[in-house]
Amino acid sequence: MDVNEVLLPGVGLRYEFTTQAGERIGVVARRTGEFEVVGYLGGDRDEGRPLFRLNEEEAEALAQILGAPRIAERFADLTREVPGLSSEPVRVAPGSPYVDRPLGHTRARTRTGASVVAIVRGADVIASPGPDQVLRAADVLVVVGTREGIDGVKRIIRD
């Protein structure tokens, strides 16, 4: 599935995708942390019909319901087979210093030994991201490593 990312200068970002049933959906992520979900229906494909508005907390809840944990779960299944190895999702808060900076700047693997094996961004999953991959607010990093390693990554991303 292709998710189209459109920059809204001064306002935030818009993600657009078409569902299998042919419905086009847009999600406006505002800088203020609010989200707006619109549908493109009917004749004018340029005009979004507002469906609902979510504040930061509501959006978080919806995201939890919809996706991020399930992807992390799949990795958890994988790591269960190797003793001592675990996996956990680490969310990049909007206030994190690494927002809009490359993953490589965190030097997470060098400092903690844990690896970021995927980035969940909205509906997209970036598998095995390179050091040049730029992190965005609300990304969820899927981290694989030892317990201590994962906690280290959490600390790095947080402050």
């Binding site: 847009g26 210093p97 809009d100």
Partner: protein, 388 residues
């Protein structure tokens, strides 16, 4: 400490009036800016309510208002957004500049303004109000529309051009030569680029200068740094506004986000004071003779903005109605047209009343036209059911 009863009373009354007109404007989903201007006109000498004691405070507050408006603009700015806008909409920005500044030049020439006046008027007709428009698109829930990125890109590029334009204007208005003005502009553009480079490379270190977990500390540091840089910029005649803009640009990431939140109420207060000051500086009697010119200019530059918006949206492959919506959205002029008047000097004849009337017309009609243009035709209820 001596308390001036007259000052407190007059300020209180002014703020009360602003709050009433502001909430009225919001109720009908309009920008309060034109009503603040009107309030300024109604107050003061020759108006309904003279406020001699508060005038001094309003004048001082107005310059702080300009500084905070530009600081907030700089804080909003992100390099990624700017480069993306440049890539897609550089031709739109060219069209925008050409078709919207030229009517200002022509009008200024016809009205017999001097060089500074013509330049100021061109700027005032060129710059759309990013404040009014971004808020309007959110309120009308058009952020999901395909034409919206085109509109916002044009606004970002306009705002950026202000960084080069304002110092030129400031130098010329203070009696400098064209040569000094060009130097001033070059210094300002160089400083903007340096601020960009610094913020992308060492943004966190610059942030550390003002960063503090306590909001009060953050505010004091932000304001202190901004005012000092603004004063230094004014000293080298590059305009305090540009100095403040630079401080905003140099701060990025979390610091910028928190700074925006902390500055917002102060900016709202002092920007309102600034709009009132512009209204105060215009004698209601001076407004009448410039009304026809202001109206004609408003109609002409309303149409040219329509054209700009349609062109920008067509570059993004937007359909006919979306192009109309984009054009209508760009019509509103507001805070920066007034900042330009503030810099060019409110004492210039004709210019201040002309731009005040002009902004008033377009800040009211722009959002109204936007609201009515290119919306979905009225639907039958059955469509609605099927649609969702």
């Amino acid at each position: 400490m001596h308390v001036s009863i007259a000052l407190l009373l007059e300020l209180g009354l002014i703020l009360a009036v602003l709050s009433v007109v502001g909430s009225l404007a919001r109720r009908v989903a309009l920008s309060p800016v034109p009503l603040y201007l009107l309030a300024g006109l109604a107050l003061g000498q020759g108006g309904v309510l003279p406020v001699p004691a508060a005038e001094q405070f309003v004048q001082a507050g107005a310059s702080i208002g300009i500084v905070l408006l530009l600081l907030a603009l700089g804080l909003e700015f992100s390099i990624a957004e700017f480069t993306t806008s440049m890539r897609h909409h550089l031709p739109s920005a060219g069209v925008d500049l050409l078709v919207n500044a030229v009517p200002g030049v022509v009008a200024g020439w016809l009205l017999g303004l001097d060089g500074v006046g013509v330049l100021a008027l061109a700027g005032a007709t060129y710059i759309s109000s990013s404040g009014i428009i971004a808020r309007l698109l959110g309120d009308l829930r058009r952020l999901g529309n395909r034409e919206t990125p085109s509109v916002l890109s044009v606004l970002v590029l306009e705002d950026f051009l202000m960084a080069a334009y304002l110092p030129v204007l400031a130098v010329l208005a203070s009696g400098g030569t064209w040569w000094q003005a060009t130097t001033g502009a070059l210094v300002a553009v160089g400083a903007v680029l340096a601020a960009f480079a610094a913020s992308s490379r060492w943004g966190h270190h610059i942030g550390r200068l003002v960063e503090h977990p306590d909001n009060e500390q953050l505010m004091l540091r932000m304001l202190g740094l901004t005012m000092v840089v603004a004063a230094l910029a004014e000293l080298v005649r590059a305009s305090a506004a540009v100095g403040a803009f630079l401080v905003g640009l140099a701060l990025t990431g979390q610091t910028a986000e928190r700074a925006r939140a902390v500055i917002a109420p102060l900016r709202d207060l002092f920007a309102a004071v600034f709009f009132v000051a512009i209204g105060l500086s215009v004698a209601p009697a001076a407004l009448v003779p410039v009304l026809p010119a202001a109206l004609a200019l408003a109609v002409a530059t309303g149409l040219t903005k329509m054209f700009t918006g349609r062109y920008a949206a067509s570059r993004d492959g937007v359909g006919r109605r979306g192009r109309l919506r984009a054009g209508a959205a760009l019509i509103a002029r507001g805070e920066f047209s007034l900042v330009i008047v503030g810099l060019a000097g409110t004492q210039l004849p004709v210019l201040a009343p002309l731009v005040t009337a002009y902004v008033f017309v377009l800040a009211v009609s722009g959002p109204l036209i936007t609201r009515l243009t290119g919306t979905r035709p009225a639907q039958r209820p059955s469509d609605q059911l099927q649609g969702t």
